[in-house]
């Protein structure tokens, strides 16, 4: 049986842990302690569940994508509609949970990093809801390609700080958020947006997203009377994937399939497929698979999808990979955009570019698996990506 909780130090097998400058060690201990207490507190769960239901819009539907399934002519596809949540992606699940913890710790200032801007928007949203001061760090390159989300954050009252270091993407935004946290730790909570970073973040963020898998498992049993043959999700940091995978880990017959960003191709620097081109190392607080060079310097990455464009991956995925409990493959930029078009035209659902990677994998696998049932986690909706879709589909844009 696979251990579904980390050890006391936050280790998932050889991965995870807590690798941060000493200044942050006590704040992480405080966060862990607060979280452990909250987990045992029925009032915490009651408030979280109420907000997830009445504010975020849970439960989300599990939708049978009938036309797409018929066209592909193989597996029966179900779509978990996290795109229908408030703010347009699964990220809000974790943000509500951590905002409640920040309130418990008496921290009035929230900082966050964001790649595609979905986590930034969800953070800005809960800060508005709870009356907390909010600063979001975002790479300049990501601000350019996700302009709509930058404006949404500002409209919600958050400060968006451009990050001009390194590749100006998610990794650099996380480093800048950590520097802010080191400096302002006494009054600030770092609302990390993926199942990454130092303990307790990977397990805590996963727990807040586990609701995706818990609902999906129950919904598929109601719809089909049996468990699915595969659950498919995109993996950047890996929060939506671990959220939907986790309740299925002990269901041996269920394949768990994570889809990384294949970008422009397999050369180092052109993709974010950590399990294909990476090796174990330590980045930004945790030990996991990393895209790095022979000297241990972190590589640049590329993906058309800002949310998948990251050099490391959540440590629990690293363990599931090594144990062969989950399978990880990749899908390139072109196939992701094509999958978004297919889903839009067969089901009337425009997916986020991140989620389109999972859809692409389902489209690839379905024809060869007739009689099987797949769940695809549609982690976000595509509105934020309209500019990128326009750039990639010039034939549709009759300007």
């Amino acid at each position: 049986m696979i251990a579904t909780q980390p050890d006391a130090g936050g280790h998932f097998g050889p991965y995870g842990g807590r690798y941060v400058p000493e200044v942050l060690m006590s704040p992480l201990e405080e966060l862990q302690h607060t979280y452990e207490e909250a987990r045992q507190d029925p009032a915490f769960h009651a408030e979280l569940d109420l907000l997830l239901h009445t504010y975020a819009g849970r439960p989300t539907p599990l939708y049978h994508a009938k036309r797409l399934s018929e066209i592909l002519g193989g597996a029966k596809l179900y779509i978990k509609r996290e795109d229908l949540l408030h703010t347009g992606a699964h990220k809000i699940n974790n943000c509500i949970g951590q905002a409640l913890l920040a309130r418990r710790m008496g921290k009035k200032r929230i900082i966050a990093e964001t790649g595609a801007g979905q986590h930034g928007v969800a953070t800005a949203t809960v800060c508005a809801l709870f009356g907390l001061d909010c600063t979001v760090y975002m790479g300049e390159e990501d601000m350019r390609r996700q302009r709509l989300n930058v404006f949404r954050m500002r409209l919600l009252g958050a400060k968006v700080e451009p990050v001009t270091n390194g590749s100006r993407t998610l990794k650099d935004a996380i480093s800048e958020a950590m520097r802010d946290w080191v400096t302002n730790v006494s009054n600030t909570h770092y609302l990390l947006g993926s199942a990454l970073g130092a303990h307790p973040y990977p397990a805590m963020v996963r727990d807040f997203h586990r609701v995706i898998g818990v609902e999906a498992r129950q919904q598929i049993l109601e719809a089909e009377g049996k468990l699915p043959d595969a659950v498919i999700a995109c993996v950047g940091g890996g929060s939506n994937a671990i959220g939907i995978f986790h309740p299925f880990i002990e269901d041996d017959g269920v394949r768990l399939i994570g889809v990384e960003a294949g970008g422009r191709g397999p050369a180092l620097g052109q993709h974010a497929a950590r399990f294909e081109g990476g090796s174990p190392g330590v980045l930004q607080g945790t030990r996991s698979y990393l895209l790095q060079d022979d000297d241990g310097q972190i590589s640049l990455t590329h993906s058309v999808s800002a949310g998948l464009d990251y050099a490391s991956v959540g440590p629990e995925h690293a363990l599931l990979h090594d144990l062969c409990r989950a399978e990880y493959g990749s899908c390139n930029d072109t196939d992701a955009v094509a999958a978004a078009v297919t889903l839009s035209r067969t089901e009337g659902i425009i997916p986020a570019l991140e989620s389109a990677h999972a859809v692409a994998a389902a489209i690839r696998l379905a024809p060869s698996h007739p009689g099987q049932t797949f769940i695809v986690n549609l982690s976000g909706r595509g509105d934020k990506d309209i500019d990128i879709y326009r750039e990639n589909l010039p034939e549709l844009d009759l300007r």
Binding site: R18, Y19, P21, E22, S26, R179, V282, G296
Partner: protein
């Protein structure tokens, strides 16, 4: 005992507070580093921290981040820094401490690093993001090779954590004067001296104070309080602006410590 241990014995005998100087090795080029180290030593540095650049330096402010970018662009690697150390050792016995992040050391391999660093004349190592909880294997390999392992103590550290930091440290303990990243500051943090007092309860090791110390006045504030002070970003900025002035800059900073430095006119 390493050169670090010998240095602190000497400082104690001379009743003097030591000067620790940080520079990013390879900034602006690997070939420039030995000369800069010699200038710092002439200016009064008692111990040199050789920063090994890392692509994602989460504990560093903009000055050291940019120095790291320049050094990486100039082809600096951990292996190259060990070559630089060998070069320094041809003419100097100044204690050398490697100062970097965990991942380059992990990729190099702890056992190999300990062996090669010792052979290159390095005396100890500090990995900014290696918490004591995760440092078991690293400390074991470094100590087996006869190298010191220096850890950070912070104003946010609990008593239990300070005790662990003391246990895992050898040579000295690096006191972080304030919560924050590396970089120059106007004033010394109020949290610095209380941290020294708390740390003394857990260890007899020498204490060195760093982070934000950038003027002779800052240095003077710690004389008689700690065994050494660390200056980093201010030196890195001086190297960026005017490398020829590094020796004089160091001499000014070290003046309150009562050491004139070899070749100094006093």
């Amino acid at each position: 005992m390493t050169r670090i241990g010998q240095l602190f014995e000497r400082l104690k005998a001379e009743n003097r507070c030591g000067m620790i100087a940080y520079l990013t090795a390879g900034d602006p080029t690997p070939d420039a580093t030995p000369g800069l180290v010699a200038a710092l030593e002439r200016g009064g540095a008692d111990l040199i921290e050789l920063g090994v650049p890392f692509s994602d330096p989460i504990a560093d402010g903009p000055v050291i981040q940019l120095a790291g970018e320049r050094a990486l662009k100039a082809g600096t690697t951990l292996a190259r820094v060990l070559e630089i150390a060998k070069e320094i050792r041809k003419t100097s016995e100044v204690p050398l401490l490697l100062f970097t992040y965990l991942n380059p050391a992990l990729k190099y391999g702890f056992e190999r690093l300990a062996h090669d660093a010792k052979a290159a004349g390095i005396d100890g190592c500090l990995l900014t993001d290696a918490s004591v909880e995760e440092a078991g294997e690293y400390v074991k390999q470094m100590r087996a090779a006869g190298l010191d392992t220096v850890f950070l103590a912070a104003p946010t550290s609990t008593e239990a954590r300070l005790k662990l930091v003391a246990e895992y440290s050898s040579g000295f303990v690096y006191m972080v004067s304030r919560t924050g990243i590396t970089g120059e500051q106007q004033n010394i943090s109020d949290s610095a001296i209380p941290l020294v007092e708390r740390m003394r309860a857990h260890t007899d090791l020498p204490l060195a104070m760093g982070f934000g110390i950038s003027t002779p006045e800052h240095v003077a504030a710690f004389v008689g309080k700690v065994e050494a002070v660390v200056v980093g970003s201010a030196i890195v900025r001086q190297i960026e602006r005017d490398p020829a002035g590094v020796e004089e800059f160091m001499r000014e900073l070290a003046r309150p410590l009562g050491k004139t430095g070899a070749g100094a006119i006093s």
